[in-house]
């Protein structure tokens, strides 16, 4: 979307609250959710704020579970509403059947995952361990979400607008994949303009059958294999078209000899690594995928031609690195540095890793 000039004063806000405020300003019709740390501030903020906004008509409902939330989202989205939910990892796992239905029925909506460390109940500390789940489908069947990965409180707010814009453009569920740190930390943010996201008509929605049209049906059931294949082909075509929405950001890649690839919070840390490295004379660059689906395969492939090696940094056991390796197809070595379970690598730790790899590479080349 075009970046508009923002006139508002910057505010100091928590990531979760900035996201919730952006949702109000994006004129959501409904939010359904169930509390879970580290994202409960989203529903808390909405419950507190929405009654004060007399100009808005927003449904905010605390559901009995994430299973119920996501199916409320399905119902409201099918009825034509701009609707969202938010949760954290275990809750998002519970939603997977519903998300698969929403993808199949081609309903636009926003699902926010403020990721915490797993597996299992895990920890409430930040993690990027849900990358696979978010980008490869997550639930059953062949489908994809549009996945946006913010790296700041500013983007926690902005991506609400971008996610709804894309979800409605493609009639596809979109996900904001954040993490516990982005949800909890406070930063300066200039909020997106109130009412700045227009609404298009949804003639397919179940709003009551009038005499001038056939009845509208929202379904994910296509029992004849021929029909089911047709729907799948249609979905695949849509995912192909969605590739044009790929977004990423680069730092000092022009003369880089070593490329870091990282998303979200890890990318913030890697920016520091680039600076630290360059102070020492190591030419490091960074590519940050902003959309995780679609993924910037092509750009990473182009950069691979110019660098000695790639280091992928994540807060997990190595998930996005598989996509980076796919992009590079063995052209240059792709290394991985990760911390897990809520731990975050420090810039120094990552730089040490780069230096160690650099040395090893030189020995190999000698």
């Amino acid at each position: 979307m075009e970046k508009e000039i923002r006139k508002e004063e910057p505010r100091l806000m928590k990531g979760n609250e900035a996201l919730a405020e952006a949702a109000i300003r994006a004129d959501i019709d409904a939010y359904f959710g169930y509390p879970i740390t580290p994202q409960s501030e989203v529903i808390e903020y909405l419950m507190r704020e929405v009654p004060n906004r007399k100009d808005k008509k927003i449904v905010v409902l605390q559901a009995e579970s994430e299973v119920a939330s996501i199916n409320m989202v399905y119902g409201a989205a099918g009825a034509g509403a701009r609707v969202m939910t938010s949760s954290s990892s275990p809750g998002i796992s519970l939603m997977q059947e519903g998300i698969s239905y929403i993808a199949s029925a081609q309903l636009p909506c926003l699902i926010v995952n403020v990721v915490r460390g797993g597996p299992g109940l895990g920890t409430i500390q930040p993690s990027q361990g849900d990358y696979f789940q978010a980008t490869k489908g997550g639930g059953h069947g062949d489908y994809h979400l549009i996945v946006l990965a913010p790296a700041s409180v500013q983007e926690m707010a902005d991506f609400v607008f971008d996610a709804f814009h894309l979800a409605e453009k493609y009639r596809n569920p979109a996900m904001i994949l954040a993490d516990g740190a982005l949800g909890q930390m406070m930063e300066k943010v200039v909020l997106p303009p109130d009412g700045g996201l227009s609404k298009q008509p949804k003639p397919w929605a179940t709003t009551g059958k009038t005499k001038d049209r056939n009845h509208n049906i929202i379904t994910s059931l296509f029992i004849q294999p021929e029909e089911m294949e047709k729907v799948n082909l249609e979905l695949q075509k849509k995912y192909e078209a969605m590739q044009s929405e790929v977004r990423w950001e680069e730092f000092q890649t022009d003369d880089a000899e070593i490329l870091l690839v990282a998303f979200g919070l890890s990318a913030r840390i890697c920016q520091k690594v680039v600076d630290l490295g360059r102070e020492k004379g190591i030419k490091i660059g960074l590519l940050r995928p902003i959309t995780l689906y679609p993924f910037p395969y092509k750009r990473i492939d182009e950069l691979a031609d110019k660098v000695e090696f790639i280091l992928d940094v994540e807060m997990n056991a190595g998930q996005m690195v598989e996509d980076v390796r796919l992009a590079v197809e063995g052209k240059v070595p792709v290394y991985f540095k990760g911390r897990m379970g809520g731990m975050i690598a420090t810039p120094e730790e990552i730089l040490q890793e780069i230096e160690a790899i650099h040395e090893k590479q030189n020995v190999l080349h000698d």
């Binding site: 019709d29 409904a30 359904f32 449904v59 409902l61 559901a63 009995e64 579970s65 299973v67 119920a68 939330s69 199916n71 409320m72 989202v73 399905y74 119902g75 409201a76 989205a77 099918g78 009825a79 034509g80 509403a81 609707v83 059947e97 519903g98 239905y101 029925a105 179940t206 709003t207 009551g208 059958k209 009038t210 005499k211 009845h215 509208n216 049906i217 929202i218 379904t219 994910s220 059931l221």
Partner: protein, 258 residues
């Protein structure tokens, strides 16, 4: 209605009954003698008579009636198994002026969807829940349902439902009636023309209550499943009268205090 029909021999007949516009011209896929089709007819006749086709939105979850949208000529949403009440909540909350109903089997409403059912009624969601209790999982080939009667043979209770292993049949309708959000709760059937007429009255009342924002209306229909029960349709009626109704007594369970 009241159109003249001209026969080949020139006789003029007055048409007194026809398929309402709320039913599509598609033959039911249900097994012969199955109660689902009768309940579909009743619902759509009421929607037609109350002239609320443009306001009514139905939700049909997984179960034999998942294809209800093929027959009901109204806007409809299919739902995941057990989630009809959540989907209906989502619709009703964003379209509070529309009339929303769910059409759920016993497996759907009283097993996998119990939490959604109870909480939806407890919130007093202003919707109609139609609950088809045929004591079995029809769609998946006749397995035991939460409502299967003790001793009843199904494919997963081949020696009869053993209450020591599987507990007692769940009277979820009585449970729902306990909740303050439930406005009108009734148990009906479609095993004879009189019962069908009563059901139609109940459905009409429920839609009228919804128009008045009274809260949740809950109509159980004790129905049959000739295929799952491995009986002829006539035998199922006998079984209903002799075995099902004594456990699931027909009549109102909660009526509005007016």
């Amino acid at each position: 209605m009241n159109e003249k029909l001209l026969l080949d021999d020139g006789t003029e007949l007055e048409q007194v009954f026809c398929r309402p516009d709320t039913l599509t011209d598609v033959p039911y896929h249900y097994c012969p003698g199955c109660g689902h089709s009768v309940v579909h007819n009743v619902l759509m006749e009421v929607v037609d008579e109350l002239d609320i086709q443009d306001k009514t939105i139905g939700v049909a979850p997984v179960g034999c009636s998942v294809f209800a949208y093929h027959y009901m000529n109204i806007d409809m949403q299919e739902a995941a198994h057990g989630r009809a009440c959540a989907v209906a909540t989502g619709i009703k909350r964003v379209l509070p002026d529309k009339l929303v109903f769910t059409y759920q089997g016993d497996g759907d409403l009283a097993a996998i969807g119990t939490a959604e059912t109870i909480h939806t009624v407890n919130r007093g969601e202003n919707i109609l829940i139609v609950f088809i209790n045929n004591g079995i999982y029809g769609m998946t080939g006749g397995q035991m349902a939460p409502t299967t009667l003790p001793g009843m043979v199904t494919s997963t209770s081949p020696y009869g439902r053993d209450i020591h292993m599987s507990g007692y049949p769940l009277k979820i309708t009585e449970l729902a009636a306990q909740l303050p959000g439930a406005y009108y709760v009734t148990r009906q059937s479609v095993h004879n023309p009189n019962a069908v007429r009563k059901l139609k009255k109940a459905v009409t009342k429920a839609f009228e209550y919804q128009m008045q924002n009274k809260g949740t209306c809950f109509i159980e229909v004790v129905s049959n499943c000739p295929s799952g029960w491995k009986m002829t349709p006539v035998e199922t009626i006998k079984y209903l009268e002799e075995v099902m109704f004594p456990y699931y007594p027909l009549g109102d369970v909660k009526v509005p205090k007016e």
